[in-house]
């Protein structure tokens, strides 16, 4: 039987309340969102917080709002809500692609975007999605809010820029016209972590050439996006030859680790193949997209 070590539990009533609770209880306190990463770690005693600050009642952080050319998503928005949002599916199909393969529907009823990003598991899907969409993280602390790029948000595996007395409150996705995006993941079984996954976003100029492109990979040891492949694609018409070349560059940029999910060669092969597939789909979707 897996039972967490003893802790004191407190429920935050507002974001400011959560921040002052974090300040009061110090570094041995942890915030729990959906709890589907933290609670298993606590059950295995890999995490032993003295105080657990529950932010599940912060409905003020559960929203999907369009604000001019930005889609604002509250940190406590559940995976299920992201998957069910028609606006997200239309503007950012990569999010729906990824959500469909994150854990299972029951887990998605609890897990949140903020929890996933803050857990920062190297095989986590939404971190790649947010990098590909050039999302920004809004972090609130005692001194107010700061807005970070995903690059600055992610410090490494299981590490983010969120300080102990801060809370990730919102993720902002810039809306681009004539753009499309896609995500594809290979997993050993349904709902598992990725062996490898890839995501891409493509924006087309009025002449049909690639105006902007980002490519991200999950679980192959790449911190940012695959800039070499992005540079190759920019300014050209989308096409199979380019996608093949981009896939090759993505595989070269990958630095996967051999583990129970597969050897290095296999993971590199997946990085190549999945990069081609998501570029094809993202470019096709960009071609169909009407407005931002």
């Amino acid at each position: 039987m897996q039972i967490p070590a003893s802790f004191d539990y407190v429920r935050a009533s507002t974001v400011d309340d959560a921040i002052s609770l974090l300040e009061r209880h110090g570094p041995e306190s942890r915030v729990v969102a959906g709890g589907h990463s933290l609670l298993p770690m606590m059950k295995l005693r890999l995490a032993r917080p003295e105080w657990l600050i529950d932010i599940n009642e912060l409905f003020e952080l559960d929203f999907v709002l369009r604000d001019a050319n930005t889609l604002r998503v509250g940190a406590m928005t559940r995976h299920a809500t992201l998957l069910e949002s028609p606006e997200i599916a239309r503007l950012f199909p990569i999010v729906a692609d990824a959500e469909r393969v994150i854990a299972d529907p029951t887990v998605r009823n609890r897990g949140t975007i903020g929890g996933s990003l803050c857990q920062a598991d190297p095989a986590e899907d939404l971190s790649t999605v947010c990098k590909v969409l050039r999302a920004e993280a809004v972090i609130r602390g005692p001194g107010g809010e700061r807005v970070l790029s995903m690059h600055d948000f992610h410090k490494g595996p299981y590490e983010t820029a969120v300080a102990h007395n801060e809370l990730l409150v919102e993720v902002r996705f810039p809306i681009r016209p004539h753009s499309g995006s896609a995500y594809e993941k290979v997993e050993r079984r349904v709902g598992d972590w990725a062996v490898v996954a890839a995501g891409a976003a493509v924006s087309l100029a009025s002449d049909g050439t690639i105006d902007d492109v980002t490519i991200g990979l999950t679980a192959v040891g790449i911190e940012g996006t695959v800039t070499e492949a992005e540079t190759l694609l920019r300014g050209h018409r989308p096409g199979e030859e380019l996608f093949v070349a981009a896939g090759r560059l993505a595989a070269l940029a990958s630095d996967p680790v051999a583990d129970q999910r597969g050897p290095v060669d296999y993971k590199r092969h997946l990085a190549d193949e999945l990069t081609r597939r998501v570029l094809r789909r993202a470019a096709a979707r960009a071609g169909e997209a009407q407005e931002g």
Binding site: I3, S6, Y9, G35, T106, V107
Partner: protein, 171 residues
């Protein structure tokens, strides 16, 4: 700490340790043992209960997190002696063999039908994809949920039960 919640329509208040998981609270403290406890790692889904109408894995929710919420367990599916159409469907279409996964399967099916009264087989399989059954190969579970979708009031079964009045029916 003290927590209050609605379980199967009844308001309860109990004293708990904060580290108690919802599944153990339901089984050991409330003695509602219809909710099963399986893998303990949020994989198998036999511990699924409905929290405010949505299926959740109760081995990965603290009882404290359910404070103020509404929980439905398998014991809350039937209304008096009348089974939920989902329960009837599992009887009609042999949706179980050993029965270990059944409480979670039926609750997920109930939530699915509340949300989508006419799911196709793919939608049913997707809905239960976080839950494992090692007996049925899922085929009869899908048929059971389809039976419930086709009989939203459980009418046929109720008619049959009236015809067989006097015979004991067990779930």
């Amino acid at each position: 700490m003290q927590i209050s919640m609605t379980i199967n329509g009844t308001d309860i208040t109990e004293e708990i340790e904060p580290r108690v998981l919802l599944v153990h609270f339901i089984r050991d403290q409330l003695r509602l043992t219809g909710t099963h406890w399986g893998c303990d790692t949020s994989n198998c889904g036999t511990c699924v209960v409905l929290m405010d109408g949505r299926p959740v894995k109760s081995c990965t929710v603290l009882a404290a997190m359910a404070d103020g919420h509404s929980i439905t367990t398998v014991e809350g599916l039937a209304t008096g002696a009348t089974l939920d159409p989902v329960q009837q469907g599992f009887m009609e279409e042999h949706g179980l063999q050993c029965g270990f996964c059944t409480p979670g399967m039926m609750l997920t099916a109930r939530a699915l039908l509340d949300h989508n009264p006419h799911p196709d087989d793919g939608e049913i399989r997707e809905a239960i994809s976080g839950q494992m059954c090692r007996c049925t190969g899922y085929a009869t579970i899908v048929r059971s949920v389809q039976w419930a979708a086709a009989h939203p009031a459980g009418q046929d079964r109720m008619d049959e039960m009236e015809e067989n009045a006097g015979e004991e029916v067990t779930a």
